[in-house]
């Protein structure tokens, strides 16, 4: 097919322009603001790096660490929960597979605030769904992890599990069944089959799932607000605090640029390796 006379660029133009204005544009403006002197609201001053220096000396490394830690833990736990689920659904579930997959996808379309609210009434001490039921049925009194960092982690794992499971299901479905048979016939045990055959073949799905989960968790703040009771300050909460209450836009912008830089450092290398045509063309 001729590539030069193609109408492709014309069709791409409206979307590309929108994305430049509303995605690249804001990133540029935030970056610009981050280089302005503290507490200014204009973009006209001379560039300075003081906000970045202050961000580190003012202790903003800590919220960043909480967010990174939360994202890492959530990614690992969701992967460990999703891997066996994907294998079971792909290989053994048979006619149930479609129904179960649909049930796993469904919560994505129910608002995060509804589901996190549900998690909080479930976890609530004394009159909560779990504590209340246990008390009424067995007379057992239990404590609650609500308003702790652990509760926020459970919430993040809960919200992001479907984002890990779905790409992984896609990845696992790329494993040809005869390849596993062949490995078994050649004497591979269960562990070897997983390490040598399944994991490498499902790698694109696993990578997308991990990338998606990690990046979404990096900015997540609703979990820490609703379930964590703000026991720890995550980076998004710190940025919001700078923007709204402290009215210090340049500092908030510098923190935002920090998150964007970390995201880019993780996403761009992986994305440049993935062949999008191969993944969507199935």
């Amino acid at each position: 097919m001729s590539r030069t006379g193609s109408p492709g660029p014309w069709f791409a133009a409206p979307v590309a322009i929108f994305m430049l204005l509303c995605f690249a544009g804001p990133i540029l403006i935030v970056t610009w603001f981050s280089l302005m002197p503290s507490r200014t609201f204009e973009l006209t001053a001379a560039f300075t790096l003081e906000n970045y220096v202050a961000a580190i000396s003012d202790g903003y490394a800590r919220p960043m660490m909480w967010s990174l830690l939360g994202a890492a833990i959530t990614t690992i736990v969701t992967a460990l929960l999703a891997w066996p689920s994907a294998i079971i659904l792909h290989r053994y579930a048979g006619r149930w597979a479609t129904l179960v997959s649909a049930l796993i996808a469904l919560p994505i379309f129910i608002s995060e605030s509804v589901r996190l609210f549900g998690m909080s009434v479930f976890m609530m001490p004394r009159g909560g769904i779990l504590a209340g039921s246990l008390n009424a049925a067995f007379g057992i009194e239990i404590g609650s992890i609500l308003n702790t960092w652990n509760a926020a982690l459970v919430g993040m794992i809960y919200i992001h599990l479907p984002f890990m499971l779905f790409p992984l299901l896609l990845g696992v479905s790329l494993i040809p069944a005869d390849r596993i048979e062949a490995a078994r016939d050649l004497g591979a045990n269960r562990w070897q089959v997983m390490r040598e055959v399944e994991l490498p073949l499902a790698a694109p799905g696993l990578m997308i799932g991990a990338l998606l989960t990690f990046v979404l968790c990096l900015g997540a703040n609703a979990e820490a607000a609703i379930l964590g009771g703000r026991a720890v300050t995550v980076i998004t909460a710190a940025i919001e605090q700078r923007f709204n209450y402290a009215q210090d836009w340049p500092m908030g912008a510098a923190l935002t640029v920090g998150v964007i830089a970390i995201t880019a450092a993780i996403v761009l290398p992986v994305l440049s390796r993935l062949d999008l045509n191969r993944l969507t063309k199935r």
Binding site: G8, S111, V121, G127, P162, A220, A222, F243, T256
Partner: protein
């Protein structure tokens, strides 16, 4: 075979546990909505639908829904038009720079949403645009448009270009080819795009929370009331909002089905 049965039971148990983990909070919302007490005290002494009556007669409920609906409908219209054009460039034609376009398009999906929301908020305020439901719709679009484009693109990859050429050979005009050949073929993709756009916008919290200004969409209201001012109204509005979105989706599906039968 004894061991095989154990394993199979274990597998079923695992899947049931995962589903339970995903659905217990959703069931909890429904259970919490069936009370009439100011504080949550489960199991309820009185099981009642009172909170639903209160929610339906409250002006706030209607206002929240109409704001969410305005945002979601704008997002659906714009993302479907732009997304279809984008999908044509993404998957239908091979052109120089396509790989870059594809990578640029998926980038916003792999971007922390609250951070995007904050960046947009700063930009809107800096250039003097008052945040409202319109800016929230714009913010949603940045994240939803790439997803809709991808959803429609998947359909285009399985599309046979030869059909268009055949239609041209038979003397069809450009408009006729688009209307009679291209659109019917990719229509399922567009329909999924519409559903994705609607549901993702309707349920979005992280973008709305920073960009909707004084207009409060449903998820933002729920978020703020969960944190500070709990009453049985909160879970009942949560259930109503979710059911409304499900009804709209089912309604759209029925409309599509009826349209097919009429033709």
């Amino acid at each position: 075979m004894r061991q095989g049965r154990h394993l199979s039971a274990l597998r079923t148990l695992w899947i049931v546990a995962i589903l339970a983990f995903l659905y217990i909070p959703i069931v909890s919302v429904v259970l919490a909505s069936l009370a009439n007490t100011r504080y949550m005290r489960f199991p309820h002494r009185v099981w009642t639908l009172e909170a639903y009556g209160d929610a339906l007669s409250s002006f706030t409920t209607w206002q929240l829904h109409s704001i969410s609906l305005s945002i979601a409908l704008s997002v659906v219209v714009l993302s479907t038009i732009l997304g279809t054009l984008g999908a044509v460039a993404f998957a239908r034609y091979d052109w120089r720079g396509r790989t870059w376009f594809q990578r640029f398009m998926v980038l916003p999906i792999f971007f922390p949403q609250p951070v995007l929301g904050l960046a947009l908020l700063l930009t809107f305020t800096a250039i003097g645009i008052q945040p409202s439901w319109k800016t929230a719709a714009l913010a949603h679009l940045v994240w939803i448009l790439p997803i809709v484009t991808l959803v429609i693109s998947v359909r285009f990859f399985g599309y046979d270009v030869a059909q268009e050429e055949a239609a041209y050979d038979l003397g069809a005009t450009h408009v006729q080819v688009v209307r009679e050949v291209t659109l019917p073929q990719i229509w399922p993709g567009i329909f999924s795009g519409i559903l994705f756009g609607f549901l993702l916008s309707w349920s979005n919290l992280p973008l709305s929370v920073f960009t909707s200004g004084p207009d409060t969409p449903l998820p933002v209201w729920l978020f703020s009331r969960t944190a500070t001012n709990y009453s049985p109204l909160v879970p009942s509005v949560a259930v109503i909002g979710t059911v409304v979105s499900a009804l709209i989706v089912v309604g759209a599906g029925l409309l599509l089905w009826a349209g097919r039968r009429l033709r």
